[in-house]
Symmetry: C2
DNA sequence: CTGAAAGCGCTTACAG
DNA sequence: CTGAAAGCGCTTACAG
């Protein structure tokens, strides 16, 4: 492997000079710089970023911790993140947690050892030990799609799940539905909780009774939505509309309805949340709530970059607006 | 930041001893080791992996270069890769290329500078310059879903696109279809070429004429499949079946057919390729060819690990079998 | 079993 | 503008 020493020797200059040439240091004669650059090319020299990191205490590496890159939502955000970070010369180290506490912990440990310059995390286990770990890291962190615990003074970027869900329920209400069921995500899910809270609050605000049998929490899959819809239909027979906390669940519900020949929106109205690509398929055309996924990733990365550049800045959180996308799964209740 | 020196000082031992304690070196008295380990904990010491990498010439980092993490196929493989690599204490550095030559080149350059230990790449631009770059890296590389150029002696892992596509076309043939159209991916796509080749060969093998107007190459989207089907239907009126080179295209075609009230499989049979999750949706139930995505990622990672561990091993390629999944979009032609 | 010393490949004051 | 020297935080022969 050729090092800075080799190119210094070839030219009969010092290593300092070579270093200055490749780092665009002002204190160097243009001709000297030119010679060095040429020698580097001739020798096929590649600077060793590891050595540089050690001395500069910057690795130009940022960690991205996510539960599941397979989730279309998360992968779109990851792409946005990678785009802005790589443009700035940073590398993204990707850690999949599979919603396992152990994997989250080991990723954070690894971030400490590898001297990562910053972190973007979608964390599912923010207990006191984890918080301590994050504090000890002493690097900028932005939470993506999660709220940081109060003692952490770190920013987050997310969509306004609450407001978006209010829109969805308001829409159903504006269509004169009163018996509105709810299909939720697993109860531990943060986003699921927010969407559920919005459902309750909106119903209450309009003075509409919430029927406990009209609420069910499904698994994170089409099958979960399918089962949930089956349960709802049998337990809450007056129901004329359903707000499903995400599109996957909504589509699972639509499958059950199709199988049972319940016409949508004729007999049942459905609203989802996420605006996944499949929701726009000809047979589905789901009315849902859209969020700017890739843009969220981009903004999270940009936020982290400014936090890194202006050291000590806490960074301010970003809450994106949602948009109700009206398609074909809702109809006025008469 | 606390370093190995701090813990040595606290205990009045040498840094060598501390180093030996944390690296499970045999030449250390168990009691000494115990003391060191405790001191490390007390001081909240975290080893600096950057320093270690510099001296050991291993970064425990592998690079994963992919065109688009948003593609459900690639993200599933990425997940498989991350799982096995992180279990082995390796980190995965993720680079999105967006099918841009420039981004591929800069990722490879970065791999050299960061002293990555290995690479898994889905490369779209293997020209001579790129090949040279890869050679200079002098680290294990496995190609994922691509063939390495002949002069590179590197292994690949992929599914047998050719054989899988033969199965699809043979199936249509077994149903007595003779006028079989083909919807392809963009022509530069490697996987697309293989699937097209299989279509042609299988038709020829059975002595069936291929009609040039029955072949169209679509864009990489539902819309692309939609347009392609429209074109095919008007140009090739005897057509009774279509092999679409991937599920997205197939579903786009199904959308057009549904919109035109052409019954599937009554008037038109369709086979896809990929077995994406959406293909199993109630309204779609697409007959298609399945590939073990996550498993492919896992095996690619395992292959890379053995190449790294047994230095100098070239590694042998892995070609996965496909499986024809028969659902509801094909019917016998009478 | 333990320590002193050299060295990994760079950067960065400090002198000149 | 340039060079010699110290140092980033470790690991690893080499002596003892």
């Amino acid at each position: 492997m050729t090092t800075i020493k080799d190119v210094a020797k070839k030219l009969g200059v010092s290593v300092s000079t070579v270093s200055r040439a490749m780092n665009n240091h002002p204190d160097i004669r243009p001709e000297t710089k030119q010679e060095v650059l040429e020698a580097m090319k001739e020798l096929n020299y590649t600077p060793n970023a590891v050595a540089r990191s050690l001395i500069q205490r910057r690795s130009y590496t940022i960690g991205l911790m996510m539960p599941d890159i397979t989730d279309p939502f998360l992968s779109a955000m990851a792409q946005g993140i990678e785009e802005v970070l790589s443009d700035d010369g940073y590398q993204v180290v990707y850690g999949n947690t599979s919603r396992s506490r152990e994997k989250e912990e080991s990723f954070l440990l690894s971030a400490a050892q590898r001297k990562m310059d910053g972190l973007i995390i979608t964390s599912d286990f923010m207990d006191s030990e984890m918080i301590q770990l994050l504090k000890n890291l002493d690097i900028p962190v932005v939470f993506l799609r999660r709220r940081p615990p109060a003692e952490l003074e770190m920013p987050f970027v997310d969509v306004d799940h609450y407001q978006g869900s209010c829109k969805a329920v308001e829409y159903l209400l504006s269509l004169h539905h009163e018996h509105i069921g709810f299909i939720g995500m697993p109860e531990y899910s943060y986003t699921g909780q927010e969407r559920y809270r919005a459902y309750r609050d909106t119903m209450n605000k309009h003075g509409i009774d919430i029927h406990p049998e009209g609420i069910v929490f499904g698994a994170r899959s089409y099958e979960g939505g399918f089962q949930a819809m089956a349960q709802l239909a049998s337990a809450y027979s007056q129901m004329t509309a359903v707000f499903a906390a995400n599109d996957i669940l909504a589509i699972g519900a639509l499958e059950w309805l199709a199988e049972q020949k319940v016409s949508v929106p004729g007999q049942m109205s459905i609203v989802g949340f996420d605006n996944l690509e499949v929701s726009n398929l000809h047979w589905i055309k789901l009315t849902t709530v859209a969020q700017p996924r890739k843009e969220m990733g981009r903004r999270a990365a940009e936020l982290l970059m400014t936090m890194i550049q202006t050291k000590g800045s806490k960074g301010s959180s970003i809450l994106f607006d949602t948009e109700l996308i009206i398609r074909n799964t809702c109809q006025s209740h008469t």
